[in-house]
Point group: C2
Chain length 391, copies 2
Amino acid sequence: MAKLPPDEVLLMGPGPSPVHPRVLEAMSWPTLGHLDPEFLTIMNETMDLLRFVFQTRNRLTLPISGTGSAGMEAALVNFIEPGDRIIVCVNGVFGTRMADIVGRCGGVLIEVKAEWGRAIDPDDVEKALDDNPGVKAVCIVHAETSTGVLQPLEPVVELAHDRGALVVVDTVTSLGGIPVKVDDRGLDVVYSGTQKCLSCPPGLAPLTVGDRAMELFGKRSSPVQSWYLDLGMLTKYWGKERVYHHTAPVNMIYALHEALALIEEEGLEPRFERHRVNSAALVAGLKAYGMSLLPPEEERLPSLTAVLIPDGVDDAEARKKLRFQHGIEIGGGLGDYKGRLWRIGLMGHGSRRENVERALRAIGAVLNDLGHKCSADEALAEVDRVYRTAG
Amino acid sequence: MAKLPPDEVLLMGPGPSPVHPRVLEAMSWPTLGHLDPEFLTIMNETMDLLRFVFQTRNRLTLPISGTGSAGMEAALVNFIEPGDRIIVCVNGVFGTRMADIVGRCGGVLIEVKAEWGRAIDPDDVEKALDDNPGVKAVCIVHAETSTGVLQPLEPVVELAHDRGALVVVDTVTSLGGIPVKVDDRGLDVVYSGTQKCLSCPPGLAPLTVGDRAMELFGKRSSPVQSWYLDLGMLTKYWGKERVYHHTAPVNMIYALHEALALIEEEGLEPRFERHRVNSAALVAGLKAYGMSLLPPEEERLPSLTAVLIPDGVDDAEARKKLRFQHGIEIGGGLGDYKGRLWRIGLMGHGSRRENVERALRAIGAVLNDLGHKCSADEALAEVDRVYRTAG
């Protein structure tokens, strides 16, 4: 029998992240009808708030009624028709997933690879664009959740736009924690998830689409293969027409509205800075334990730290101790990094000094238990130094 | 600015329906990781509870991470390959939607129609099966939310199975309020939504798939066109393998678990009986107001009553008064019935005598306001007679 309500666990894995109490409360507000005038106001405000965090004025900015992966699928199926040449940048699980979906759309897949744990090299994107004239879209992951890599976007956008290709960007682990700047960077189609730096439970996928992409959407010669994710119908439900499409997940939208309102109250820049500082503190502590980070410094996500497990420490045993003796969840590695990597999230409401310190103490205790000798006091002194430097 | 938290509205439209307070509370339980051992137990129990309400032993019984329409899409895209001949029974909005999706799958669509407000005639299904040898599936709506029609399923199942065709059934507005009996009736693929007779907020789509359908799924020659809804991967996440697919909407699943537990506590038969009696009472009251029901008596849903608006009464004005003067939402008509029909739901937690009486009083007041003279006292006397007869 499940223990209900469940115990509170400090979520420091790759997501879901800790949910702000105000957001949890919003989950249980009275359900309104999905076409109720009051709910339509909430929908409109949610779109405005999403524009704020995406840093865009795109009219088509709304939450897809599914998790981040549904957002990925929506970002692809609406713009890819059979035979379209599509570049997908693959340096982890989520690039791999985009490549899979491109195939299911009948797209001609052109992969640009980097080793897991490294960003994509724009030169490789340029080569692929030059080798394959007429590419319709370049798909890339801003924040690779499987490896903790932050991808610089500007050079890729410039290359793609020079050749008339759209840029489709996965910001699942960056939106709300790291600047996404949709308009400044000219990103064409951008999606995310609610359960990472937005600190909302999983269940919705924010999506924004620019004019260039909408123009291409309007020129489709075949129907979108997904009825549920068809942006033509979704924009008529979320737009002025209010044509019934599906029943929006009303309470999830309350929660997203509240999560976004919290971000507006905090301000984007202070929030990004908070993510940077707490991440630097965590990294300093992990290094004091003699641990190595997977991505090089300039390619590291402030929302998710990918750290190699010290030799001799059993991954499963360590994470079990963290979960059941210390009440903390962290993530393991995927693919080749299974058993070799931990992924430690400091996302949204979870990105706080008290969590950095609590996690480091717990990790220190578990490492010592499992034979990797290290000092929590020394690590916390390093952490303190980071916070004092940051002011 | 939206008023938050929103005021409570009595939801007596075609869904979402009133959510039980215990279910709303479950929405705000602490979010667990989507692969946390405690959450996996909750997932397993949710599958068991779904089997109970679907009345099935199907192993593949799980909630799709999207709303009812995502369930519809999952029920179709996993089983239809380009060129497959598919019969869709169309007598309202949801049959029309299935037909749309079949086309997007590349299926060869064969429509069997009935006028809106009437059930599908099995003779027409038989004719379509005989005219089109090799039909792979017959798709039909058990409870047509757009017209309040209850579809007898047994004759259609027998005809389809005789010809080796699967039966795909939409139970969005029946599951949890009307017997679905997946195993007894031999239904092959059945989906629903959470926001109707399960009395949970919208956001998940329960789905169950039988062995015959799984066997056909295993013989697909092309990948499922939706990555998000691919049952091959979904069963590996929900099954023993626990292979990460997407991040389940954790808090929505708490809510569904709680909603299903409430059904188990009440028992299916008492719950079905409650839906029947309250619906009969509502119908008696509406008739006392001189109103006519759309479907004939034997084809009427106990969960949703479709009633014609009296001549001279303005639909929009009446529903606005109900919503803002009486705090009650009811639904309007769709398609040809726009402006001519009201759809009044008595679903799950909402199917209660106090709601029947409150709605009838409010409707009576509004009808009188708008020039249709009628007596609430007389209607409530009819209602009382129904309850006394039912015991």
